[in-house]
Every structure is written in structure tokens, then in C-alpha cells.
């Protein structure tokens, strides 16, 4: 969405933060370019970083015995990749792999934790931003549980014409 025309892609993720807070946070950002097919993190590993995707697509997957990796969601530009760093046990619940070349801002979770400990107002704002992302994904998951496009009728949606 071009709600901030001319602004760098991904900037809108932190739009709710004050300019001061955004500046402090972005000072910790590191620009990264990840080729397509890069395994960014694996399920169960320590969640010590997070990313704001500026371009490209990342697939979140789960390994299922006998079925291999099953993609459960994809996220693209302007999205936050990773929230497991915020709460214990700080381990990735899913794995992530780039679908195509991805440009992103990478943040070191420990440095962000330290910043939030010093500036608690920033910490609260950032937690709110992350909670919004978690809420969005929870709502999306619940919607998909409804199997909206599945067969109509008692087990699906809508009448049977």
C-alpha cells in the first residue's frame, strides 16, 4: 500500500512509533539481501533476530514427517518477519525460506531488548506493533479455519444452489 508515497518500502511497519522512537530503532537496523531459496531460520532454533521485509516474499513452513516442508503462510513487502524473539521460550515456531530475492532490515533481538529496557515507552510501542502483527496472523488463521472457499453446505460456507 502506498500510504506513504515515496517512503521506503517497509517503513509503514513502524508507522505507529514516534519519529524519535523510530529513529532509535532504525539505528539498530542492518540492511540485508537474501537470495531466493535462503533458509532464514529453522523451527526450534533460538529466535535472536527479526526482519522487516522491504521486497520479495518469504514462506513460513513446518516440517511434517512423510510430507516434507508444508508452507502455511507467505509474507511479503511491508511485513514483520518473526515475533518469537519477543516472548519466552524465544524459539522459532516455524521455519522461513525466501521465495525470491528478499531485501530486508534485520534487527538483533538482544539489542532491541536492551533498547526497550532503557526506553520503556519505546518498548511499549514496539510491543503494540508486534502484537498487531500477531493479531493479524491470528485472525487470518481463524478465517482460514473456516475453509471459506470449500464445498458449500453444512460443512462449508453458504447455501447450496
Amino acid at each position: 500500500m502506498t500510504s506513504q508515497p515515496g517512503g521506503p518500502p517497509g517503513e509503514e511497519v513502524f508507522a505507529a512509533l514516534t519519529a524519535e522512537h523510530r529513529g532509535k530503532l532504525m539505528a539498530l537496523a542492518r540492511e540485508v539481501v537474501l537470495p531466493g531459496g535462503t533458509r532464514i531460520f529453522e523451527e526450534g532454533e533460538k529466535a535472536d533476530r527479526f526482519w522487516v521485509i522491504r521486497s520479495g516474499t518469504v514462506a513460513l513452513d513446518v516440517h511434517m514427517p512423510g510430507r516434507g516442508r508444508v508452507v502455511v503462510e507467505t509474507i511479503g513487502a511491508g511485513s514483520l518477519l518473526g515475533w518469537s524473539w519477543l516472548c519466552p521460550p524465544r524459539q522459532w515456531h516455524l521455519a522461513a525460506e525466501t521465495r525470491d530475492p528478499v531485501r530486508a532490515w534485520e534487527f538483533d533481538a538482544a539489542a532491541v531488548h536492551d533498547l526497550c529496557a532503557v526506553d520503556t515507552a519505546l518498548g511499549l510501542s514496539l510491543v503494540t506493533v508486534v502484537a498487531e502483527t500477531i493479531g493479524d496472523r491470528l485472525r487470518a488463521t481463524r478465517t482460514r479455519l473456516l475453509d471459506l472457499y470449500g464445498p458449500p453446505g453444512p460443512k462449508g460456507s453458504g447455501p447450496v444452489p
Binding site: 500500500m1 511485513s79 487470518a140 482460514r144 458449500p152 460456507s157
Partner: protein, 268 residues
Amino acid sequence: MTLTPLSYRVVDRRDETHDTVTLVLEPAADALKPFAAGQFAMLYAFGVGEIPVSVSRLADGHRLTHTVRAVGAVSRALCGLRIGGWVGVRGPFGTAWDSAAAHGNDLLVIAGGIGLAPLRPLVDAVLAEPQAFGRLNVLAGARTPADLLYGDEFPAWGKPFGAVTVDRPSGGWTGRVGVVTTLLREARFTPSGTVAFVCGPEVMMRATARALIHQGVRPDRVRVSLERNMRCATGHCGHCQLGPLLLCRDGPVVGYDQAEPLLTVREL
């Protein structure tokens, strides 16, 4: 005229997916008035019954194009028709996608499942006069890759942004996975100057409308297509009543400012 079906013959059919068929119909004698994008016809499968089906392409002349998904007795009968088969048709009925009101605005065309069918004539109309509109974004969601409609037409729709996403990836699918609203983040539009046209399952339309309004699109500029149990299609029988609306007459296309209070009432 609108209560008496006219005979139309199937002159072309195309299997879109395992359960969805596009039929091209030609009048045997008298033809119905021209349809507008978003309007629907009552299609009568002889000896089985009648259902409302939106036009999925505005053809030249008197031909009609409808895309039907086989989910019940009537729609299964329609999908089973072969070239040369006969259908009874009444129409045109209902309100249309008011593309003229969107002139000069960015457009979001957002579809879920078979909801892409009623939106296809709108996309055709926008592509026919692109200078009249801002940026066109076509976003579509489907259950699986095999359920995607009109896949061969998407490349032409994708400027400046077109994307599809599926709930259940399979068969080597390398595209997007997730609900259609997740595509909004990458779409190219300015919320204050955008008109959105949304069609799909009602829950999907509600979630989409809420996301759009949250991002700054005005509720009256979010147009949704509502379905209810339409029988007469002329506003008399009342089967399709939704509060003060008779959707066969006052819909199916309505503004979300009007629809939202009705969709969240537990009983009407």
C-alpha cells in the same frame, strides 16, 4: 418479460476447474436486454430448478457468459450441459459494479473463490479504458491452486499489481499462501483515493472490508456483492430480504456502509 425465461442455447463451454464451468449462451429467438458487470441472470436448468448466476463476461451481441460452480442440484445440472444444450434465462437483475463512479481512483478488485467470476467483467471494463482510472490491483484468493479461475488471464490483469493466494498449497505451488487480505500490504493504492470491489464468501468480504477501512478506505467506497436465497429476482417474494434490502433488487452490489450494520445483526 423478467418472469418468463427465454430459451438460450449453449454455444460454448469451458471447464475452468474440476467443479466449475463457463457457459456461453446464445438466444434461440428473443434476447434479453444487455447486462452490466455485477448484474445476474436467473438460469433455469429444465426440469431441475433455477438459480441466480452473475455474468462473468460481457460479450458482444446478445450472447451471455456465466461461470457456474457445481455445488447443488441446479448448478450441477448447469455444469453438466454440453454444447447445444438449452437453458432458460431471465434477467438482467440487480445492481452493477459502478465502475463509472470509480473514475480517477485507484481500484482494488478483491475476489475469493468463485467471486472472481462476477468481477471479471469489471476488470475487462477497466482494462478497456485504463486512462479513466488510477492503478488497478487484482487480488484473488482460492482454496487450492487447482481452484483458481481464469489463470491464463491473470498476467494481463497484473499491472500494476496482481496476485493470487491459496489456503492450501499443493502440487508444487510456489505462489502465495494465506488469506487474500494479506495481499493488501503490497498492493499499490492510495486509500483516500481508492474504490474497492469485493466479492466472495461473506466472511471474507467482511474481513476484507474491515482491513480496507482500517487502512483508510471510506466504507461507501468498498463495494461488496451479497448473496441470499433469491427466488423471484424481482423484489416480490422476499426470500432474499436482508433488513430493508431485497438483494435481488437492491443488490447484489451494495456499499459496505449500508451492508455492514446488516451483516453483523445476529437475526434479521
